[in-house]
């Protein structure tokens, strides 16, 4: 143990508020101008940002696998249901008098790509945001927007207690198992009993925590003054302002593309 240990105060180069702002702008941009080319470009940028920011996009994890499979299904589904456009081929080709069925059209592929890339972009950019944002710093930054710290702290407390409820839920299930309580679904009475046996212990445990938590927070001066100081906080730098302007420029570009003011550019993206 050493006295020389330095306590890390700030995390990340970009202000967490700006990260939130950029996430909202990215998603708004592709909703305003839903082009598959634009969302694909943004998707590539987001995927590249994962290794750059040190976050891991673990493809072997079940969650990531599910997201990719779901986007592929969205793509295929759009191809199947879109019949207008230039026909490029058929999923079931003509065999003598049988077929052809299920045409693949260029418009169908475009729509499929647009929906799948938009879905991937929304999910992956949100995952990136969560992975690289310190929620405490985000909550502290919210007070800059004149949000009272009592409300911004609600975010921190919710995130603090989520893993706790998760582990408590598992313990309650084990306790049920040890008493021989098995989930029953036959009839309303049995369903109500199953709900009671799960939610009673969880609810009581949560309520007992509320009192302890409020005593613990009040006992350390929470609400003592209208303001509070922050040991760990993120500063707003010039680079943050530049990125924010870049984001606003992006939205302006998307709006002009959507309104048809940039016909030449809209043929490219």
């Amino acid at each position: 143990m050493t006295n020389q240990t330095t306590i890390m105060q700030n995390g990340g180069r970009v202000n967490p508020l700006l990260k939130l702002f950029m996430l909202i702008l990215t998603i708004s941009g592709i909703l305003i101008y839903p082009s598959w080319r634009l969302s694909s470009i943004l998707l590539v940028i987001v995927i590249l940002l994962f290794p750059i920011s040190g976050a891991s996009l673990n493809l072997s994890r079940n969650r990531t696998k599910f997201i990719i499979i779901f986007s592929l299904l969205l793509f295929i589904f759009q191809i199947l249901v879109t019949v207008n456009g230039t026909v490029l081929g058929f999923i079931i080709p003509q065999l003598n008098n049988f077929g052809p069925f299920l045409p693949i059209t260029d418009f169908g592929i475009e729509r499929g790509l647009a929906i799948a890339s938009r879905f991937l972009l929304v999910v992956l950019s949100s995952m990136l945001f969560v992975a690289i944002t310190d929620p405490t710093l985000l909550a502290h930054s919210l007070t800059r927007l004149k949000i009272p710290y009592r409300y911004s702290f609600a975010l921190v407390i919710a995130l603090r207690f989520l893993p706790l409820f998760d582990s408590e839920n598992q313990i309650v299930r084990m306790a049920q198992k040890s008493r021989g309580i098995q989930p029953e679904v036959g009839g309303l009475r049995k369903i109500l009993r199953t709900i009671q046996y799960t939610f009673f212990p969880l609810l009581v445990s949560s309520l007992s925590r509320v009192e302890a938590l409020s005593i613990s927070m009040d006992g350390r001066g929470f609400g003592y003054s209208e303001n509070r100081t922050y040991f760990r906080k993120s500063n707003w730098k010039i680079s943050d302002t530049l990125i924010a302007f870049g984001g606003l420029g992006f939205i302006l570009l998307c709006s002009m593309l959507a309104l048809g003011y940039l016909p030449l550019l809209s043929t490219i993206i």
């Binding site: 603090r160 049920q176 040890s178 212990p201 003592y224 509070r228 760990r232």
Partner: protein, 481 residues
């Protein structure tokens, strides 16, 4: 001096929890307060720290003085600058996501400058030997680490008086020795400490005074001999295996917590399962009870794999009691809760009803049959957990730290249940940090370290061996004979 003058309090206006209580805590002294469960210890702590009557409703009378000044007009924030309260459950008190944020929380609220917050955060973490944890996420800490954090986050507010409600409950012997050191250092810094404890041995060596609270009034504590029930199984040579683990591994996600563990529980054994916080004791109990499935290896009941036995058959034979009583109470009245297992097993008959009534009476719960079990005190809930798990005479009892929050009467009741079960050709495994219990009641001690069994043998040999290999904290925790 922090003092109460003639304070009385009742939550419902009828039952007085405190009756004209007078207590004084001087700066630079450690006062130890003990008393049976439900005697008003925690209520007194909340009165002294100002939460009663400010944020907890009830009928309050009397006055609290700090350094001669009546605090009647003080706000909670004003009192908490002077008096801090560390409550029982450390998990519920942590309100931020990172250790450093938690310790800085108080000073931030009091609008201290950055430099002062940094100094206080460092010194408070250092005082509890936890500076290395500063960047950790709070939810990943072990029970003992959370307790240290709860204390550090109060120390950073620099109170003149500190009240700790059962601080040693979730600590292993190493943690208890550290707690003694922390409290001694606080004494040296002229902080007045009131420590509420059931287990007097933990803090007694450093306490200046010991007080006792009973029936809402405080008296000087006088030692009473704790009756030691001589274990009839001490001389028994066990040979009939009841429950066996063979080459068991277990992981939570990617973290392996049990490594290639084998052990057999025999008829007549009372086993103390010991080990530091986070060593895998609770996971072992869950594996033995068939509540978790091992990654590989076997868990056998008799000669049959536990996974092949019907759940109800396991419930009939093995009872598991977990640490937190709130997680294992399911019914709306004490009586319904008591007979729940018998109902599920289809064994509600005259004999089982008689047994349940007898158990509740001996646990002093006989008068609360229609009460909501959640309204009982922590210690009473623990008793109900145990009585409701043993009404159907299970052969094997697996108890996870059953003595936490128990007064002497409760400890004796649970110890009796343990010896009765073992002498009826059953077996009991008790997770405990208490070497005295291991010596007085158990015929075998298993010591776990980092998910593996380090030592397994008779209590004398294991405790002696622990000392040899550097775990001197266990012998330091033993009561002087």
């Amino acid at each position: 001096m922090l003092e109460s003058r003639d304070i009385s309090f009742s939550y419902d206006g009828k039952t007085e929890i405190l009756r004209s209580v007078n207590i004084q805590i001087r700066q630079g002294e450690v006062v130890l307060l003990t008393g049976p469960t439900g005697s008003g210890k925690s209520t007194l702590a909340k009165c002294l720290s100002g939460f009663i009557p400010r944020s907890i409703d009830g009928n309050f009378s009397g006055e609290i003085k700090i350094d001669g000044e009546n605090t009647g007009d003080y706000s909670i924030a004003e009192i908490s600058r002077l008096v801090s309260l560390v409550q029982q459950d450390p998990d519920s008190q942590i309100c931020t996501l990172k250790v450093v944020d938690e310790v800085a929380f108080g000073p931030e609220n009091y609008e201290f400058s950055y430099e002062i917050i940094e100094k206080l955060t460092k010194s408070s973490l250092l005082a509890v030997d936890a500076l290395h944890l500063h960047n950790r996420n709070t939810h990943t800490l072990s029970g003992g680490e959370k307790q240290k954090l709860a204390i550090a986050s109060m120390l950073s507010c620099e109170p003149k008086y500190l009240i700790l409600d059962e601080p040693s409950a979730s600590l292993d012997p190493k943690g208890v020795l550290l707690l003694r050191r922390i409290l001694t250092e606080l004494k040296d810094k002229n902080v007045g400490v009131l420590c509420i404890e059931h287990n007097l041995d933990t803090i007694r060596p450093i306490a200046n005074r010991i007080l006792s609270i009973s029936n809402g009034a405080i008296t000087d504590w006088t030692p009473t001999a704790e009756q030691s029930i001589s274990s009839i199984t001490q001389t028994l040579i066990p040979d009939t295996p009841l429950l066996t683990l063979e080459g068991v591994n277990f992981s939570y996600g990617s973290i392996q917590v049990i490594h290639d563990t084998s052990l057999t529980i025999h008829q007549g054994e009372i086993i103390a399962l010991m080990g530091e916080n986070g060593s895998g004791k609770t996971t072992l109990v869950s594996l033995l009870g068939g509540l978790l499935d091992p990654d590989n290896g076997r868990v056998d009941f008799g000669r049959v794999a536990i996974s092949d036995i019907d759940r109800k058959e396991i419930v009939k034979r093995i009872s598991v009691v977990f640490q937190n009583p709130n997680h294992q109470i399911f019914e709306r009245t004490v009586w319904k809760e008591q007979i729940l297992s018998s109902e599920i097993l289809g064994e509600v008959h005259e004999k089982s009803v008689e047994r349940s009534t007898h158990l509740l009476n001996s646990a002093n719960l006989g008068n609360f049959l229609d009460r909501n079990p959640f309204s009982l005190s922590h210690g009473q809930k623990r008793m109900l957990n145990i009585t409701s798990s043993i009404a159907h005479f299970p052969k094997i009892l697996l108890l996870d730290e059953p003595f936490i929050g128990q007064d002497q009467e409760g400890r004796e009741f649970i110890s009796n249940i343990i010896t009765e079960t073992a002498s009826a050709n059953g077996a009991v495994l008790v997770v405990t940090h208490n070497p005295n219990f291991a010596k007085n009641y158990c015929n075998r001690v298993i010591f776990v370290e980092n998910g593996s069994i380090l030592l397994d043998g008779s209590p004398e040999i294991v405790l002696h061996r622990l000392e040899d290999i550097g775990h001197t904290e266990y012998s330091e925790m033993e009561a002087p004979s």
